[in-house]
């Protein structure tokens, strides 16, 4: 059903118009702080305790792009959900800017692997939902939503329902919706995990383009080492039992994208952390 034209984006489709804030001025970005933050789950059936995130201190600079990388069950989603306000901390606190996070809020947009688009809304209506809080007029809201859809190459699909779109298109709508909310932070949990390899590369490029124009703080969960190396300025390696950060790699001053040898060294170093002897 997915025609190649739908899923593989050509480069001229990805002309990203930069957006001003709906409330005027450029959208702000903010730093995120975890201070001794920990999450322990209690199983409802057996009462068994799982330390999904051991007490963690970490700061995500405003406008940075950080990948959370690690094997399944190491607490990546838990950390992200703690920042999103979806799970309650067992101890410590999470702050964004100078606000303590206690519940989900429009300052943090979340993009999940399973898109989470409303199937009863058109692509346009899905994006408009993120604009509800700005008190725009109806026509302003539609126009703004449309321009965000255009920025992900879906200007022509505004009236389609999610069920009529390919996975890649749906994820682009989800991305447009997230960007439309003008979040201080963009939280992505394996967002491209369900896409085919080519669509995935196109989406990665699109994401980088959007990010470079908005300077939103991005947390990007993945278990794909190459994806982390391709996208992130910084990689946090996580390990299970209890879930914790085991390494913090700064890639800002490396030239991994041009130097294949250095990239290979970094790749091996990461595997060294993730596959202890």
């Amino acid at each position: 059903m997915t025609s190649t034209a739908d899923s593989a984006m050509t480069s001229n489709e990805m002309t990203v118009a930069s957006h001003n804030s709906a409330v005027g001025g450029a959208p702000r970005s903010e730093a995120i702080f975890l201070e001794q933050a920990s999450v322990t789950y209690r199983s409802k059936r057996s009462g068994e305790l799982t330390v999904a995130l051991a007490a963690t201190d970490v700061t995500f600079e405003a406008g940075s792009f950080t990948a959370l990388l690690g094997p399944t069950g190491c607490g990546k989603t838990t950390l992200l959900n703690a920042v999103a306000g979806f799970v309650e901390l067992t101890s410590g606190c999470v702050r964004i800017g100078d606000r303590k996070i206690i519940k989900p809020g429009p300052d943090r947009a979340v993009v999940l692997q399973q898109y989470a688009l409303m199937p009863w809304m058109t692509a346009l209506a899905n994006v408009e939902m993120a604009l509800e809080r700005f008190q725009l007029s109806r026509s302003e809201r539609a126009a703004r939503a449309r321009s965000f859809l255009e920025s992900v190459g879906l200007g022509g699909a505004a009236r389609k329902y999610p069920g009529e779109m390919s996975g890649g298109m749906q994820q682009r709508v989800a991305l447009a919706r997230a960007m439309a909310a003008e979040p201080s932070a963009l939280l992505m949990d394996e967002p491209f995990g369900a896409l085919d390899a080519i669509t995935r590369i196109a989406m990665q490029r699109l994401l980088m383009q959007l990010w470079s124009q908005t300077t939103t703080t991005v947390l990007f969960v993945t278990h794909d080492v190459n994806e982390a190396l391709d996208l992130a300025e910084r990689i946090l390696l996580m390990s299970p039992g209890p879930g914790r950060i085991v390494a913090d790699l700064d890639l800002r001053h490396s030239d991994l994208r041009t130097n294949a040898l250095e990239r290979e060294k970094m790749y091996q170093e990461i595997l060294g952390y993730l596959l202890p002897a």
Binding site: S3, V110, A116, W120, K160, E164, R177
Partner: protein, 290 residues
């Protein structure tokens, strides 16, 4: 029942490519063959249904003539048709239909409204569920026919009592499906909407209501069949007209031809109501794949 679920397809010609580059099929073989496929399927479905009807009529005729069941008690299709025509000419069918349909329609409308409202309340709010849940759970096993004596005591044998019995049965049926539908909304929808700062009233209208849409359609379909069951209970419990009342009278005179007419009327009404609700409903929740 699979034949009753309708899906909305867009003709291929309307589908615009997502990106501007792909050529639009203007006048092409694929479009035509798509249309003829659809037409072919419609014709095939209709033909299958006709075949089933004809087969049933023939089987009925064979059984009736064979004398397995006494001929006096088992009319042939033709005899039934003649009964129907005479009932129609004397105006009995018309007045019975009017009476019964009125009772079902009013009772169903009240029951569906109340049932949906309570379903939303108990599905959406834990507090409502705690208060109303036990009451409804207690009432659910009590069938409409058991409520007839109470209804007669309260309302006499007039219309109000009939509405009450039908509405009673429909409330319980509709409530269960709607409650379950609301309670089973994938939490991610509400979570996402809340995350984007939608107020609770908007979440109810833009997320919870449409997300429950498919369940509401199921609820109303089930509710409509229950409404006819309750109608029969209500009319047998004392009425001066109506399809089920007529069945009872005809039974006393062993007029099996007329009894068959009444049963067929009930069947047709039930199917028609279900078809109407399913068609309108599935159009409204066209995004749902069920």
């Amino acid at each position: 029942m699979a034949t009753l679920t309708t899906r909305r397809f867009r003709p291929a010609a309307e589908v615009t490519p997502a990106s501007g580059e792909t050529a639009r099929p203007t006048d092409s073989a694929p479009v035509r063959s798509f249309r003829s496929n659809v037409a072919g399927r419609v014709v095939r479905t209709a033909a299958t249904r006709m075949a089933v009807v004809v087969f049933c009529l023939v089987a009925w005729e064979v059984v009736a003539r064979s004398g397995i069941i006494s001929k006096a008690l088992f009319p042939t299709p033709l005899e039934t048709w003649q009964s129907a025509r005479s009932l129609w000419r004397t105006g009995v069918v018309g007045s019975d239909l009017r009476a019964s349909l009125g009772r079902v329609a009013v009772g169903f409308a009240i029951g569906a409204t109340v049932g949906t409202a309570i379903g939303f309340a108990t599905g959406y709010s834990k507090a409502c569920s705690a208060v109303l849940g036990p009451i409804i759970t207690f009432l659910r096993p009590i069938p409409a026919i058991a409520v007839v004596p109470l209804s007669t005591a309260w309302f006499g044998i007039g219309q109000k009592g009939k509405y009450f019995i039908v509405a009673y049965a429909v409330v319980l049926a509709v409530w269960l499906y709607v409650h379950d539908g609301v309670a089973r909304i994938p939490p991610v929808y509400v979570r996402v909407a809340r995350g984007y700062g939608l107020r609770p009233i908007k979440i109810l209208g833009k997320i919870v209501l449409p997300a429950t849409g498919p369940s509401i359609v199921s609820a109303l379909r089930y509710g409509s069949s229950v409404a006819f069951l309750a109608l029969v209970a209500a009319e047998l419990g004392g009425a001066q007209n109506g399809i089920a009342y007529r069945l009872q009278v005809d039974s006393q005179f062993l007029q099996t031809g007329r009894i068959f007419v009444g049963l067929i009327e009930l069947g047709i009404l039930g199917v028609a109501a279900d078809f109407l609700i399913a068609t309108v409903g599935n159009r409204l929740v066209h995004w749902s794949s069920t």
